[in-house]
């Protein structure tokens, strides 16, 4: 039992490390070759995990080899457009200038019902509202509506807007984020002083505190103080 416990621990760590090294794209959107590798890795890890008769290295070597293949394919895809089109395919424009491209739909083996369903989920019930619909290599459908049908932006209405940056977290779960404080040229004493103004003596009592680009401090104290 102990052996299986340790083997599981090792293989899990290796698979997590492998998926991390494969890059962030793995988690959200898988290209065909990435999907194949992800499935194979999961399968390869489970066999030596449960079968003590199989040497651990028989699971680790193929996992590392698949990681190498994946990184190599990603690298070559980055360098060569031709290679990328071979490995990932190319996007198909299924609706062009508001007109459904039958041939493209047929080539992608994407039927009309699927197209209409996907358009509905994207918020376009009427196909005549769509200027372009592109079937991406990951299988996602990107929809570009006709200019009269898209949401109005402040730019359309010629309304000036203020800069909206990213609020910077200064305290997370009671821990002061010194790096973030330094980034906005502030220090802990400033933070403590600001919190004291709201009756909070210790940053430990803060669940989250962030500073927006207007210099406004947002915070929420813990329900149960430490």
């Amino acid at each position: 039992m102990l052996v299986i416990f340790v083997r599981t621990f090792i293989l899990y760590s290796v698979v997590v490390l492998t998926m991390r090294l494969m890059g962030k794209r793995q988690i959200g959107q898988l290209e065909p070759f990435e999907l194949v590798i992800a499935i194979m890795i999961a399968e390869l890890a489970t066999i030596p995990m449960e079968d003590r008769g199989i040497p651990l290295i028989n699971g680790l070597v193929p996992i590392m080899t698949l990681l190498f293949i994946q990184v190599l394919i990603s690298f070559l895809s980055l360098k060569s457009l031709w290679f990328r089109s071979i490995m990932d395919g190319s996007p198909s424009i299924v609706v062009r200038n508001g007109k459904i491209q039958e041939k493209e739909l047929y080539n992608a083996r994407f039927n009309l019902n699927e197209l209409i369903e996907q358009l509905r989920t994207k918020g376009y019930a009427n196909i005549s509202d769509v200027e372009y619909a592109i079937l991406e290599t990951s299988g996602d459908l990107s929809v570009i509506p006709k200019s009269q049908k898209r949401a109005v932006t402040p730019g359309d209405l010629k309304i000036d807007t203020q800069y909206e940056g990213l609020p910077i977290p200064l305290v997370i779960d009671g821990l002061i984020q010194t790096k973030n404080l330094n980034m906005v040229n502030l220090d802990e004493s400033w933070l403590k002083l600001e919190l004291q103004k709201f009756g909070i003596d210790r940053p430990d009592d803060v669940l989250i505190a962030s500073l927006d680009t207007q210099g406004k401090l947002y915070f929420q104290s813990r329900d149960h103080k430490k």
Binding site: R52, M64, F68, V71
Partner: protein, 126 residues
């Protein structure tokens, strides 16, 4: 790029290490196989003491390499070799000629099987 370079080095290590262990396994398997005809002759001549000594030497050699082989070869195949040697020793003690020769032949086949399975060739790839 660093990751790719690191992984390329790792792949080269795998290949070099793979060739090295394959050569080692093949060498040790054939060393052990070379002892089999000698033991077989001694059993046929009913030279039980010499056969027992040689089989004990075979077991000793096996015990030395077993730990290393455990890392690369499916464990059941290794256990099988151990089982054959134990049976041979037992049959030699009871001076059962036919059974001892049968187990020795089985051991020889098992070693050949490991040897053939570890060889890098087209048959093993497909």
């Amino acid at each position: 790029m660093k990751l790719l370079a690191g992984l390329t080095i790792l792949m080269i290590v795998f290949v070099v290490f793979g060739i090295h262990t394959q050569q080692q396994i093949l060498g040790l398997a054939s060393d052990m196989q070379e002892m089999v005809p000698n033991i077989s002759r001694e059993i046929n001549n009913e030279n039980w003491d010499a056969a027992r000594n040689d089989t004990a030497r075979l077991l000793e050699q096996w015990n030395e390499i077993q730990d290393r082989w455990d890392l690369f070869i499916v464990h059941s195949e290794i256990e099988q070799v151990e089982l054959y040697i134990a049976r041979i020793l037992s049959y030699l003690s009871s001076e059962d000629k036919a059974a001892a020769l049968a187990e020795l032949a089985a051991l020889n086949t098992q070693l050949s099987h490991i040897y053939r399975k570890e060889m890098f060739n087209v048959q093993n790839i497909f």
